[in-house]
């Protein structure tokens, strides 16, 4: 843990975003994670993405469960709302919160333990409901807080710090999410902010549930030879499958048009994701092609914004909920009273 809080001095060139805040205004408390933890880099990427999107801190809700990853919402956007839920329940709590107030930007931060073991069911159902939120899995293949046991994302043959090999097959959150109808699926690496920041921005702009699986090496328990989630292994095996830019809605579209033939996807809020490079025959809007590609390239770590579908309705749209947050409804409408309840129950008799 650092000896001091971050000095208040600010670089003079740090400009203010559209709502008058500078990058440092999006910081949180000092991290208490191990020095060199990938999670801290993801925190830094989130700070940058939220600042660049000029989201008002009080319109952000940070949610997490239990684990090293789930500590990180403390480390960004001090002024945001936050909920640190029970282990694996972040997706459920986020679904509930989103149902009650659809106006907030929901940032869920989870880990491979929280999401792929105890919370797997909750995550899958949040995907099915297409809850509008950014769901980050800080994926390091081990349970860091309990001293480095294999998690559900550990690869077969990957070795623990003391040399034991994992024999159980891993759950790949990307493949899983694609197979159950996720509408935004990306994978990135904590050590590659150039790629990660635009993905996070696109994920926040997405119409529904945006899953971002981020390989985030555990510097204490899983950054050795024999690990398949170390800094070195990830660098050697990652492949930038897609290269995408995020173009915010207010930008002049002519000025930002890409090279001929580049794929663009217009997001629900009017922003544009522009794919500058995708493999031959790859279409980030075609689920089957993406699944095929991932199957065929299992030896490498495919990264980038892998799949996006802006046409699917999100939870609110599917359920035709009120247009505003529940707090904005008059009390009589929110709670119609005994008479209305009795009338409703009469229908079921």
């Amino acid at each position: 843990m650092p000896s001091i809080t971050k000095p208040v001095a600010v670089h003079p060139s740090l400009h203010r975003n559209a709502i008058g805040l500078n990058l440092r205004d999006y910081e949180g408390a000092m991290s208490t994670l191990c020095a060199g933890c990938g999670h801290d880099s993801i925190t830094a990427a989130l700070i940058r993405a939220l600042w660049e999107l000029s989201i008002e801190p009080h319109m952000i809700a940070k949610l997490s469960g239990i684990g090293c990853s789930s500590k990180t919402p403390t480390y960004f956007v001090n002024g945001a709302h936050g909920f640190n839920s029970a282990h694996g329940r972040m997706a459920a709590i986020a679904t509930g919160a989103n149902a009650a107030n659809r106006e907030l930007t929901y940032i869920g931060v989870s880990g491979d333990g929280d999401s792929l073991s105890i919370g797997l069911g909750h995550m899958c159902h949040a995907i099915r409901r297409n809850v509008k939120m950014l769901y980050v899995i800080e994926n390091n293949g081990v349970y860091g807080l309990t001293k480095g046991q294999f998690s559900a994302s550990a690869d077969v043959g990957s070795k623990s710090k003391r040399g034991e090999a994992n024999r159980m097959t891993p759950i790949d959150p990307v493949m899983l999410a694609l197979s159950i109808g996720a509408t935004f699926v990306a994978r990135s690496f904590s050590g590659d902010k150039e790629q990660l920041v635009p993905i996070l921005k696109a994920a926040i702009a997405h119409r529904g549930f945006a899953l971002v699986d981020v390989i985030s090496p555990c510097v204490t328990f899983n950054d050795h030879n024999g690990s398949t989630k170390s800094y070195l292994y990830t660098r050697k095996h990652m492949q930038r499958t897609t290269e995408a830019d995020f173009v915010p809605p207010a930008s002049e579209i002519l000025a930002t048009i890409g090279p001929v033939g580049s794929t663009t996807v217009t997001m629900h809020d009017g922003s544009v994701v522009r794919f500058n490079a995708v493999p031959k025959d790859y279409d980030p809007t075609d689920r089957k092609k993406v699944l095929n590609y991932l199957q065929e390239n299992q030896g490498s770590i495919a990264t980038g914004l892998l799949y996006v579908d802006e046409t699917v309705a999100n939870m609110h749209e599917m359920n035709a909920t009120p247009a505003g947050p529940l707090w904005s409804l008059p009390y009589e409408k929110l709670c119609p009273g005994t008479a209305a309840l009795n009338e409703l129950q009469e229908d079921y008799r």
Binding site: A9, A44, Y231
Partner: protein, 595 residues
């Protein structure tokens, strides 16, 4: 881009902006830490090693360190380095036993120093402990040179000047007062092994305008200050005009205020942005009710029946960058006395021109910038005598350099053979997130010097105006120092490129990016390098990706968070110590070599 060579002491030295800017390279951050710990004597002695006169300089230094201070680039106000130096001098304990001593057995070499000002005294300070016999010729009956004659005692009390000059003279310097040197040729014939000329720039520039020689109420600034210092002048008229707006003008106007001047105007030709005086000296003068009048060019002295009545000025209008002016009209400003403070010149009527000492077109001696030697071997110049008016701290630096040359010369070693400066780098890590220095950034504002009450200060000429920092001010000001000498030192081979340092750096100094042409790499920095004067560190290629670690030194607050968040100790905080070689004392040698 080019990899940075941190083996050269000058890389880390340049990061310590104050020390780099100081002609004597005083180890400022270290003495500020000593002050913060209440170790005033240690702070004083550390200062003395390089600048010889901490008490004098703590009041009068031109402070090249302060405009250079990194803190100034962060919150607009540099650390009050000079004032802290004075704190160490004021609160020091007994130092007699710590001062350099001259050995009983001399080395048989005799050195003459001309003038007993800061440069000559510095030469003696370095040579006496080596066994030299130093003979110092001084034209007045007291030591100090321009420090005594030109700096008013309300800025520099007599006892401070006396103590610090005595510390050197008491080593056994053969000081000969009231002994101006009138012939260099004679002196050369007296069998000295070396001669050092530290006679200053003693001639005030004149202003040859109509009426100049028709009255005795027009004074040359430095001569007038000197007469005041030696009690030859004790009063002045009520209406005083000071011509010129340098630091001497400030001393003249404030002295006039104490000798009876009531309506004192400092007359400047150009707008305020082009004044030569230090901003703090201008402020101090204005605080005392001195009026500073801009855009007035002197035209003639106005006399009636042989009595000075005032001066006529042309009122000027300048273009945007004050290069060209236009005369609007002329005005007559009444005055009882006029003091000319428009600069000083060197003057060597006593150096014959046929003795092998070459003079250039401006009638200045040709002096080598490193060795301080003139064209005649064994004759050295320093202080204002070398290249015209500079300031005390430059004179001290010249003195150190000249002492090395004198020592070489007397040992038969070429004067050009200089011992290199060296550096020490020592890790400040004490444990996990624990450092031997105070790494937290303190946002406290620069402390304001308290002054003697305005009424009280004019009652006594030699009453020191600045009161010095009190304990609380000292503690606060010391915490403003960023410890720039505790350097961020990077070992590329250990880096795993986790980005932790880049993410934590509060001033966005760090970048990991691919190699390229420097101009193009600069475009990829985490924050633009706004100050081209400051170094951009580039590591060798990193092990995992071959990218480079870059650090823009400009705004680093030396908080050490990069090192705290580094999992592999690729970053560490190492205290940089510049080891300067002095005469007879090579860097890395623990004590003075006794001859």
């Amino acid at each position: 881009m080019k990899r940075t060579n941190t083996d050269d002491p000058s890389y880390f030295h340049k990061v310590v902006d104050c020390q780099w800017a100081c002609p004597a390279h005083t180890n400022v951050p270290e003495y500020i830490r000593l002050i913060a710990q209440g170790r005033f004597t240690d702070a004083y002695m550390l200062n003395r090693e390089s600048n010889v006169f901490p008490g004098i300089l703590g009041r009068t230094c031109d402070r090249p360190c302060e405009p250079a201070c990194r803190r100034g680039r962060l919150d607009g106000k540099p650390v009050a380095i000079c004032r802290l130096k004075r704190v160490a001098a004021d609160l020091k304990g007994e130092i007699g036993h710590l001062l350099p001593q001259a050995p009983a057995k001399k080395n048989g070499k005799r050195v003459a120093c001309i003038g007993a000002g800061p440069s000559s005294l510095s030469v003696a300070n370095d040579l006496m402990p080596l066994g030299y016999e130093v003979v110092m010729f001084e034209k007045y009956d007291k030591p100090g040179g321009l420090m005594r004659s030109n700096i008013p005692s309300f800025r520099l009390p007599e006892h401070v000047l006396g103590d610090e000059t005595a510390a050197i003279l008491d080593m056994g310097v053969d000081i000969r007062y009231n002994s101006p040197v009138s012939s260099m040729k004679d002196l050369l014939g007296q069998g000295f092994d070396a001669i050092f000329v530290g006679s200053g720039a003693p001639r005030g520039k004149n202003l040859d305008l109509p009426g100049r020689n028709d009255t005795d109420r027009i004074h040359l600034g430095i001569d007038w200050l000197e007469s005041v210092a030696f009690n030859h002048i004790e009063s002045i008229g009520e209406k005083v005009l000071i011509i010129g707006v340098g630091n001497t003008a400030m001393d003249c106007c404030r002295t006039s205020r104490r000798l009876g001047g009531k309506d004192i105007k400092v007359m400047a030709r150009r707008p305020r942005a082009y004044f030569k005086a230090s901003s703090w000296e201008l402020e101090d003068a204005e605080e005392e009710g001195i009026e500073i009048v801009i855009n007035h060019a002197p035209k003639r002295f106005v006399l009636e029946n042989g009595v000075l009545k005032g001066m006529e000025f042309e009122r000027l209008e300048w273009d945007a960058d004050a290069k060209k002016s236009r005369v609007i009209d002329t005005v007559i400003i009444p005055a009882d006395d006029v003091i000319l403070a428009i600069g000083q010149e060197n003057s060597f009527p006593w150096i014959e021109r046929d003795i092998g000492i070459d003079f250039d077109k401006g009638d200045m001696p040709a002096v080598d910038e490193t060795t301080m030697q003139c064209s005649r071997p064994g004759v050295f110049f320093g202080g204002d005598a070398a290249w015209g008016p500079k300031n005390i701290i430059w004179a001290v630096a010249h003195g150190h350099a000249a002492a090395i040359s004198v020592h070489n010369h007397c040992q038969g070693i070429p004067v050009t053979e200089r011992l290199p400066d060296r550096m020490n780098l020592i890790s400040q890590k004490m444990g996990l997130s624990e450092w031997s220095y105070h790494n937290d950034y303190n946002p406290v504002a620069r402390q304001k010097m308290k002054h003697v009450d305005l009424k009280r200060r004019f009652e006594e000429l030699s009453l020191e105006v600045e009161l010095g920092f009190d304990v609380e001010q000292t503690a606060r000001e010391a915490q403003r120092c960023l410890n720039c000498d505790v350097e961020t030192v990077f070992t590329a081979a250990k880096c795993i490129e986790c980005d932790a340092c880049v993410d934590i750096c509060p001033l966005l100094c760090l970048t990991i990016t691919r190699d390229g042409e420097e101009a193009e790499v600069r475009d990829r920095l985490s924050a633009p390098a706004v100050n081209p004067e400051q170094a951009l560190y580039a590591s060798v290629p990193l092990p995992q990706t071959g990218r480079l670690m870059l650090k823009d030194e400009d705004l680093c607050v030396h908080c050490g968070l990069c090192a705290e968040r580094c999992p592999t100790a690729a970053w560490d905080m190492l205290k940089f110590e510049l080891e300067i070689s002095y005469a007879g004392k090579a860097a890395h040698e623990p004590a003075l070599a006794q001859v």
